[in-house]
């Protein structure tokens, strides 16, 4: 508000400046710099247009994807998302195997990542010595900055052989009876995708959880400790309880990441559009079917089916991310900025 009042006063001083007998050097310098109400107006207008471009991008994505998927929306309607046929040759498309693959691999990633991420956040905020904290925080930040394709490369050449040789046989032996870990052990498949996804979403969940936990006031911790609680009881009752909404937000944000993750998943999930009970079997995800088949899709209906999958992915991630932001903002609003 104060800034706007200043802007409104500018033309006055400007107009009267010409009538002044002898403007000071500073003033005359400034007047020669081309100040005018028009420039101010134009400048703020330009900035506004750039800020509005954010909305334009969302709108652009929505319009392009909807118009691109018109064919399948008209032909299949809503049942498109429940059909499990994927037959480009005969023009029969259903997105269910991909939705299943995306959802299951993401949930698997959350199951692995969330306890670990919260553990790391607890360690970093409540237990870690100062000299180590900066170092570890930097490391987790680094983990978040590694490109997806490099994770994929590592997964293909290190993680998958490791799973195939050691982890998968163990899981088949101990949990094989359930049918969840059964069948031929390829190494690649839903489980490998879940593991690499968990490595990828860990940093984001743990750094946001850390932020939310740091926002809990110190008085809260001291109060619980003063009542005779052990450190763990203090963390559980004084910190986690207060931060839980924000932690849920962080987890949902991680889910959003996992749902849309493309390259690393494509490289290890096995790319087979089937719904199989065993997690060790190859599967497919929404993002990876687009990545794999988009440039080969010559038929308009085929292309439209892939674009519709993209549209569904876009809408779901928008909703998930919006929900997560609202939850995180609700907790950290008014809290001191991170880092201090």
């Amino acid at each position: 508000m104060a800034g706007q009042a200043d802007v409104n006063q500018r033309p006055e001083s400007n107009g009267s400046a010409g009538a002044e007998p002898s403007p000071s050097t500073v003033r005359s310098y400034l007047l020669n710099c081309g100040s005018s109400a028009l420039a101010d107006r134009a400048f703020s207008g330009l900035m506004l247009v750039c800020a509005l471009s954010i909305f334009a991008i969302v709108l652009l994505i929505l319009v392009e994807l909807i118009s691109g998927s018109k064919l399948t929306i008209q032909k299949f309607g809503l049942p498109f998302f429940f059909g499990s046929a994927w037959d480009p040759v005969n023009g029969n498309f259903g997105a269910m195997p991909f939705i299943y693959g995306t959802v299951v691999s993401s949930i698997l990633a959350l199951i692995i990542a969330v306890p670990l991420a919260v553990g790391v956040a607890i360690f970093l905020t409540e237990m870690c010595p100062d000299w180590l904290r900066g170092f570890l925080a930097f490391f987790t930040e680094l983990l978040a900055a590694i490109p997806s394709v490099v994770y994929g490369l590592w997964a293909v050449f290190v993680l998958v052989p490791l799973l195939r040789q050691y982890v998968d046989p163990f899981l088949i032996k101990t949990l094989g009876w359930s049918g969840i870990f059964a069948g031929p052990n390829y190494g690649i498949g839903m489980f490998a995708a879940g593991v690499i996804l968990s490595v990828m979403i860990l940093p984001i969940i743990s750094s946001l959880t850390r932020e939310v936990m740091s926002a809990v006031p110190h008085a809260q911790r001291e109060a619980v400790l003063a009542l005779g609680a052990t450190r763990w009881e203090m963390i559980r009752m004084g910190v986690l309880r207060n931060a839980r909404i924000g932690i849920v937000g962080a987890v949902i944000l991680g889910l959003g990441r996992a749902l849309g993750e493309t390259m690393a998943v494509t490289m290890v999930i096995g790319n087979r559009p089937e719904i199989v009970r065993s997690l060790l079997a190859p599967a497919y995800s929404m993002a990876s079917v687009i990545a794999n088949e988009f440039s080969e899709a010559s038929d308009p209906l085929y292309l439209s089916a892939l674009i519709e999958i993209g549209l569904a992915l876009f809408i779901v991630t928008i909703i998930v991310n919006a929900l997560a932001r609202v939850l995180v903002w609700a907790v950290t609003r008014g809290a001191p900025a991170r880092g201090t």
Partner: protein, 295 residues
């Protein structure tokens, strides 16, 4: 409220106290253990990358283009150039628009409703899968016209905008109000005050924010799959498909040839070094504060 949270054991006997101490130690061990478990893959990835990448990196990698299947040697020089061109297009598009958007939120919108909506939408847009951006740009620019470097650059540029908008805004908000008032008090027009005073004061932070966005999109593969598409040969034309480092790593990683795997590792190392350097730079500058002694 707090009293209802307190469990009865606090008043109970020694055995309960023992149990609580044990649980405390177990929880501590779990937190330390999970930290170690999380750090292990990162160290493993880095160690493996350094080991594999460094042993495959040579001069040819930076000077030659890929050789046909079966021949040893060759490099990714055209991919490095291609990534450079793509990132230049992306920066030309994303940096000015992103900074301007940030200026609007911090200087004109402040806590207004519109500014909050822009801020929120930018955060949400940051989480949109990059492959979705790839399809959008495909239907917008590529369909009917063919793959091109320009479309790849635009896809990356759009992805930079929300990140830069948010970091610029955060950095500008750290500049004290006094600085703006001093400028306006001297009779400096508002636009000039924003550009030459506020933005200039915050420039180290703004620049590092841009570098962070740059590093993020430098590793993006998904939006380039059906825009820049990749190219085995030298190409600098904006209307032709162009090679890019992440794309080439992806193609080579999935190929059945050892020689190509070797090049993929070398490419990954180059990419990571680029990104680590910019992230480290960002942390260094952010750690020093935007303004010496003021913030």
């Amino acid at each position: 409220m707090a009293s209802t949270l307190m469990p009865p054991p606090l008043r109970a006997g020694a055995s309960n106290r023992f149990l609580r101490v044990v649980v405390n130690h177990l929880a501590t061990a779990a937190a330390v253990g999970s930290t170690i478990l999380v750090m292990a893959p990162l160290i493993a990835i880095f160690a493996y990358l350094l080991f594999k990448g460094a042993s495959s990196l040579n001069l040819a990698f930076f000077t030659q283009i890929p050789k046909p299947v079966g021949e040893t040697g060759g490099g990714m020089a055209n991919s490095i150039l291609g990534s450079g061109i793509l990132l230049a297009i992306a920066s030309l598009m994303g940096v000015p628009i992103g900074i301007a958007g940030g200026i609007y939120i911090a200087e004109f919108g402040r806590n207004g409703r519109l500014a909050n909506m822009v801020r929120f939408t930018a955060d949400v847009l940051n989480g949109v899968p990059s492959i979705v951006m790839g399809i959008t740009i495909y239907t917008l620019l590529v369909a009917g016209r063919g793959f091109s470097a320009l479309s790849g650059g635009v896809a990356l540029g759009i992805m930079m905008i929300p990140t830069i908008t948010r970091t610029t805004e955060e950095m500008l908000l750290m500049v004290p109000l006094n600085v703006r008032e001093a400028a306006l008090g001297l009779g400096v027009p508002n636009w000039r005050s924003v550009l030459s005073i506020t933005l200039r004061t915050a420039s180290p932070g703004v620049i590092t924010g841009c570098m962070l966005a740059f590093a993020r999109v430098a590793g993006e593969t998904a939006p380039l799959l059906f825009t820049a598409f990749g190219n085995q040969y030298w190409s600098t034309s904006l209307n032709q498909p162009i090679a890019a480092l992440p794309l080439q790593i992806y193609v080579y990683a999935l190929s059945p040839y050892d020689e190509w795997h070797r090049l993929a590792w070398a490419g990954a190392l180059v990419l990571i070094v680029l990104i680590v350097v910019s992230v480290a730079l960002v942390r260094y500058v952010a750690g020093r504060g935007v303004l010496k002694g003021a913030s």
